[in-house]
Symmetry: C2
């Protein structure tokens, strides 16, 4: 942990064999929630240093099945972090203008600036997921995209962006529970759409598309993490820990002060 | 409170006569901090409804002298709010590309989308502040801008954006204290620049420029609030309260659910 869940370019996975439950990895929910709170404070501190140093960029990218917990992850993990240094981008169905460009255009425009954390709620990976399952472009088009994406992410990485990609892995049963919860909870109903049921019927096709995405786009510069996400407490803990580790590796420092500052007298 | 600090289009103010201390308005710091915590929770809740409803836009704009507390306000007031629904834009010295457009171009591009809160850390008002004091364009140019800005903000308001403009009003003594604090605190030193001293010498010119901005750009659709900001606890409380009031006035509702949702069975 957290590297337990990091994929390696040399080992292909079978998604059906990867656990969705955090109970296999952590014994105690209470202890996990305590750890998580401490990590959240640490994250706020590190983000402040990242912003002050103004050098590195961090990209946190989330993909999941419907009700996989993308919104909830963002809310929990980044709660308490100064919003000035975090930009969240939710990629929805592309607009007419976005469609008039290549599919990486809108994504590139949203890449994080120096000193900031960019969070992608969905991403360019939709172009090998929903686009593939719904047959919006032929195979000959979407299968080239894995390479484009690896190349694009290598360029970002070479230019100083650390990339963390999280696939929130839930079971089909867990999705059912969450849909039922949305249906029966007043302030969650708006998140449910009848179209979600149609997509649930395509569960297997989506899992296959996710599996190919994970296997084809895990590189040394931008590996995927497959997070067991049936339990929110384990999901939040693990993602938070991975981000904190990455920031500690960057070890951003407060910038050096201007010369002559020690002699300054304020009148 | 909070309307105590809202300017009115019909009453011109003299900035030197407006208090910078919150002690004149609130007796107890402890009580204020307690109130503030409750408001912060309320804000997180209302922002969630704003995001779900996807109808209204809220623009929160901050201007102040150096060390007036813009960054700190953003950090404190929006801590705990889901970063997915809040976009903070810090307007720095314009880039070459930005300068090749009119001065409202980059600001317009950053205006908040439906369902979100946009926070401007500095704004188009710099074009009647630093630009005026540093004599970057002649008076004949900058004095036309008050009208442009009022027109621009009326258009935003007519199209569904609620605009809250806060001037964080500090005393010259308080600025001195804060500069000294920055100089003597390791993790704040990077925020201090020798150029800050040059600008401090222009205190009176800046106060005059702020006064004209406040008097010329207070309209019914986008009034200025002059916040006594020497004490952070009063500043945070008042700004938070004003934002919560505005959101309660908008009263965003969870969207109505799709038809047929009551008969849904999830397989």
């Amino acid at each position: 942990m957290p590297f337990t869940h990091r994929l390696s370019p040399s080992n292909k996975i079978r998604l059906a064999e990867v656990p969705t439950s955090g109970h296999d990895f952590h014994q105690s929910r209470d202890k996990a929630e305590e750890e998580f709170k401490a990590l959240r404070k640490r994250l706020a501190h590190l983000q402040n240093r990242l912003y002050a140093s103004g050098k590195h960029r961090l990209l946190v990218l989330l993909q999941a099945m419907d009700a996989g917990g993308k919104d909830s992850t963002i809310r929990h993990v980044f709660k308490g972090v100064n919003p000035q240094g975090v930009q969240v981008h939710s990629f929805k169905t592309p607009s007419k203008e976005e469609l008039s460009h290549d599919y990486l255009w809108r994504v590139h425009a949203a890449a994080p600036a120096a000193g900031t954390i960019g969070v992608f709620n969905r991403s360019h990976y939709e172009d090998v997921l929903v686009v593939r399952v719904e047959d919006l472009v032929p195979r000959s088009i979407w299968e080239k995209r894995y390479q484009h994406i690896n190349d694009f992410e290598r360029m970002l990485s070479d230019c100083g962006t650390t990339i963390l990609k999280f696939f929130l892995h839930i079971s089909k049963d867990e999705q059912k529970k969450r849909f039922q919860d949305r249906l029966s909870t007043f302030y969650k109903q708006w998140k449910f759409s009848v179209d979600d049921l149609r997509k649930r019927k395509q569960w297997d096709q989506y899992q296959e598309a996710f599996e190919d995405m994970l296997n084809n786009c895990t590189t040394d510069h931008a590996p995927w993490y497959v997070i067991p996400a049936d339990q929110k407490w384990y999901r939040n803990l693990t993602i938070s820990k991975t981000i904190v580790h990455a920031l500690e590796d960057l070890d951003p420092e407060f910038p050096s002060v201007e010369e002559g500052i020690e002699n300054v007298v304020i009148e």
